[in-house]
């Protein structure tokens, strides 16, 4: 390991910025609004005063009063206390595909030619954005082999909602509501699969992994499938990074029993150009534009989930779709979807994310997408090889096998030997400018951590991350207290007292609630 990859002496900005309400000075203004012209004043008269009694606001809202620069400063300081992917080696947030969001695409997304569009302005005036939406759909069709896409959902879970709503409509349409009431998924799948299926009136069956191979237990699956199966919701590869070569056996089985198959492609980044949804006979698939297709994650959104379907399911898609009228050479919003589930989102979807995806795909082309996938997989196996050799870390399932784009590891051994497990490592790794993420619930793998490098980080950067991990493991053995009291170089120190987040009598989710309960620094408010 060269000097270049030794862990650096990192300290994140620590501003101790007050809560914004404490920055308020009565009378200060952050921005001024247009003044009413005399003609408007005359014509409008006392429009406000004329409002019926209880419609008028009686006292002004308790918002802070701050001059403009101070507002800017406050938020810029907070931004320094936030470690976006652009700043760190963000490979520790497994399943999230924290790849580079090209800045040229940000220019497109922020362009007034996009930001200034109103959703119901005449279609002839928005041909540009409609073309982008239409072309993006064509790209997604090529990438997946599906026949039609809706770009409407606002994220992966939202896409699952759209898909399961369509499954519901399809089942009801066939008069099978009483007989087809089960949906099969795997325990490694995103919890939204289970939650949405139940919300749409289905019973959920979770398939656990085969303890050795890590693939969904095939025998268990065969027991689970029946004429009651409405659909299978599955991810491949799963969050373990293991590709299930039997996937077509699963989809064939479900189809044989008259059910539908949906492909959660949150983990598409390692298989772009390698295999497609159509290859395993899926009826539905969805992608996360803010994962595989480079749209930034925005601290937790906005994201964009796009749903692809095979021809026989097109009639159920949310409206509108984007279509092309060849005769008149124009794009248009298409509401002719005879059995549509309706709308699941305002208007048409997250347009800025779509243009980023469009630009990203145009920048890379087929060869680029393939190279992105291949390098993501190379990076991941490189890391896997190094972590296998690390003390205290284990790689459950599929011993000795390669993985696709991410791996689910375990720090159970480290926990048993040193008393430090995932929680402690996660808090300490902040001191090395990095993140580490565990797993969705339930934790089938104990003390889990998941690393997904994507194609965006160089070997040197990956080595730096691994060096940090190795150092922390060393510390866990020799000086565990450093981990237990971590972080030390972060914007704040350890939030040790969880009761302020667990106890309904103590928690405060707004400043107003805090002021109702406490004074000073968490001093219980004295009864008046």
């Amino acid at each position: 390991m060269s000097d270049k990859t030794k862990s650096r002496d990192f300290h994140q900005a620590r501003w101790n910025e007050p809560i914004i309400f404490d920055l308020s000075t009565p009378g200060e203004r952050g921005i001024l609004l247009p003044e009413m012209e005399p003609e408007i004043e005359t014509s409008a008269g006392d429009a406000l005063g004329e409002l019926p009694g209880d419609l008028k606001r009686s006292s002004p809202p308790g918002l802070p009063e701050m001059a403009q620069m101070r507002v800017l400063k406050h938020y810029l300081r907070l931004s320094q206390e936030n470690l976006g992917a652009d700043l760190n080696v963000d490979i520790g947030q497994g399943t999230c595909t924290m790849k580079y969001s090209p800045k040229i695409n940000e220019q497109f997304a922020a362009s007034p030619q996009l930001s200034g569009l109103h959703p119901v302005q005449d279609e002839n005036t928005v041909q540009g954005v409609l073309e982008i939406m239409y072309q993006l759909e064509q790209f997604l069709k090529a990438i997946s082999g599906m026949d039609r896409f809706s770009l409407q959902p606002g994220g992966g879970s939202h896409a699952i909602l759209a898909i399961v709503s369509m499954i519901r409509a399809w089942v009801d349409d066939r008069g099978l509501s009483d007989t087809k009431d089960e949906i099969i998924t795997t325990i490694f799948s995103h919890p939204s699969n289970c939650a949405v299926a139940r919300a749409k009136g289905f019973k959920v069956i979770n398939i656990y992994p085969d303890p050795k191979t890590g693939r969904p237990d095939l025998e268990a699956f065969k027991e689970a499938v029946s004429e009651r199966t409405a659909a299978l919701l599955i991810t491949n590869p799963e969050d373990t990074g293991i590709y299930n070569e039997n996937i077509k056996e699963l989809t064939d089985l479900v189809h044989a029993h008259g059910g539908l198959c949906s492909y959660d492609q949150a983990n598409a980044n390692g298989i772009l150009g390698i295999t497609r949804a159509v290859n395993a006979n899926f009826d539905f698939c969805f992608f996360n534009i803010h994962k595989t297709f480079s749209s930034p994650h925005g601290c937790g959104g906005p994201g964009c989930g796009v749903v692809g379907v095979k021809e026989h399911l097109i009639p159920y898609l949310p409206v509108p779709l984007t279509s092309f009228d060849e005769a008149n050479n124009r794009y248009y919003l298409d509401y002719d979807v005879p059995k549509t589930i309706g709308k699941i989102k305002d208007y048409y979807g997250v347009i800025p994310a779509m243009i980023r995806a469009y630009a990203w795909i145009r920048s890379l082309g087929a060869e680029g997408l393939l190279e992105a996938a291949r390098v993501a997989v190379l990076n991941n196996n490189y890391i896997l090889n190094r972590i296998r050799a690390m003390k205290g870390a284990e790689v459950p399932y599929a011993e000795g096998e390669h993985r696709i784009e991410q791996v689910r590891y375990s720090f159970q051994l480290l926990k048993e030997e040193t008393g430090c497990g995932f929680d402690e490592v996660q808090r300490r790794i902040c001191d090395f400018m990095c993140h580490l993420w565990s797993s969705h619930e339930p934790f089938v793998v104990p003390e889990p951590f998941t690393i997904e490098p994507t194609e965006s980080y160089s070997k040197q950067e990956i080595d730096e991350y691994l060096a940090a991990l190795e150092k922390i493991i060393e510390e866990a053995c020799a000086t565990p207290d450093v981990l237990k009291t971590a972080p030390h170089n972060s914007p704040i120190h350890h939030v040790a007292e969880h009761e302020y987040l667990d106890d309904p009598k103590l928690w405060a989710v707004t400043w107003r609630m805090y002021k109702n309960r406490f004074e000073g620094y968490f001093e219980p408010k004295k009864e008046q």
């Binding site: 002004p60 931004s79 963000d90 947030q93 959703p119 925005g298 305002d346 890379l364 490189y382």
Partner: protein, 463 residues
Amino acid sequence: MARKFIHPYIPNSVPEVQQEMLQEIGVKDIDEFYECVPDEQKVQGKLDLPDPLLSEAALKRHVEGILARNQPAGNMINFLGGGCWDHHVPAVCDEIASRSEFLTAYAGEPYEDHGRFQALFEYASMMAELLDVEVVNIPTYDGSQAAATALSMACRITGRLEVLVAASTAPDRLSVIKSYLYPDIKVNLFDYDPDTGLADLDDLSARLSDQTAAVYFENPAFLGYLETRGQEISALAHERDALSVVWTDPASLGVLNPPRAYGADLTCGEIQPLGIHMFMGGGRAGFIGAPDDERYIKEYPSRLFGIAPTTHREWGFGDVAWERTSFASRETSKEFVGTASALWGIIAGVYLALMGPEGMRELGENCIKRTRYALNKMAGLPGVKAPAIGTHFFKEFVVNFDGCGKTVVHINAELLRRGIMGGQDLSQVYPGMGQSALYSLTEKRSREDIDCLVNELEKILSS
């Protein structure tokens, strides 16, 4: 075999680096990693995508060429509203929205991502002041999702499975609500008066039952008018132990009373007016406000950020979580939590901090008075009925052109030629209202803009 495709977004596309890594792993070629994919499942050849635009200059030229074909309403005299509004977006909002530190962050801990936790806590807190509630969630996908989720929460809180929704609800929002609540929760509508737009209290009363979980209405309404009897609607709901759920426009709350003042138990809405560009309807985020009541807080499916002490007396944050200790027999699934619209929450917070109480008051005043001015002038046009529905308005109103013998399509096409975006055509969605359009007046519409509109309309209608 090393491939020679080097791309700026893929550092390890350099063949020598790949070789080094492969050697360390002990594998000859990346293809080996894909041996687990059966041949029959592999893509044959290349994906059918257009050739790449490898240089940034070529990409920029291409995409901007497409974008040039858009004629943004934001560059014109724009009277479109109806759920997506053309308010001024402060430069500071754009600045913060473009900060990489926020833009490219995601799910870090409240330590290294302390900034986003504090920013979102502050957003929730400022919204709480605006709405006069104690609890506000981290944003949902959009205002319609907020409405649907609020109704779902009401069902869990009351243990009932029916909701009564105002028929005057925005049509697309109603579609989202129905789609979301299907099949477990029944959505019934209650009527409104075609002249005043106000809720038909008799119809509401008749439809309320012991199965009603919530009564839902919007204020301001989609068609722009204000509901003046919110208190009575809430009272009717409460008589039957149902919740009052009200959707509102936060831009109005500097001058208008928040729904809690007229009995709302849950308040929901859209924050796009607070510092978010129109983005063709692609910049949305929703909020749900509630009182400090464990029964309500327990039912939030979205994240709530709480404030907590650290070992060094700093302001720390974390997700508020709690264990639900019993299973209710009518329990439908907890809703799902996924990536929604956090960044817009931060930006709305920036907006509210810039505006302060005085700014919000000025915003409200601008909207109400400009709307009144436009209304008065439009009403003076021959054959025009303005307003076509309602008595009091916030920032939009319906204009009916039946008396002019011209379609809204024609009128808007003519206005467009003159650089004006006319109001939203309602004739398809509300056929009973004839040739009507929804005109929106924000603080951006100057007196000249409005006068120009009226002058041009006069010409168009008389030709």
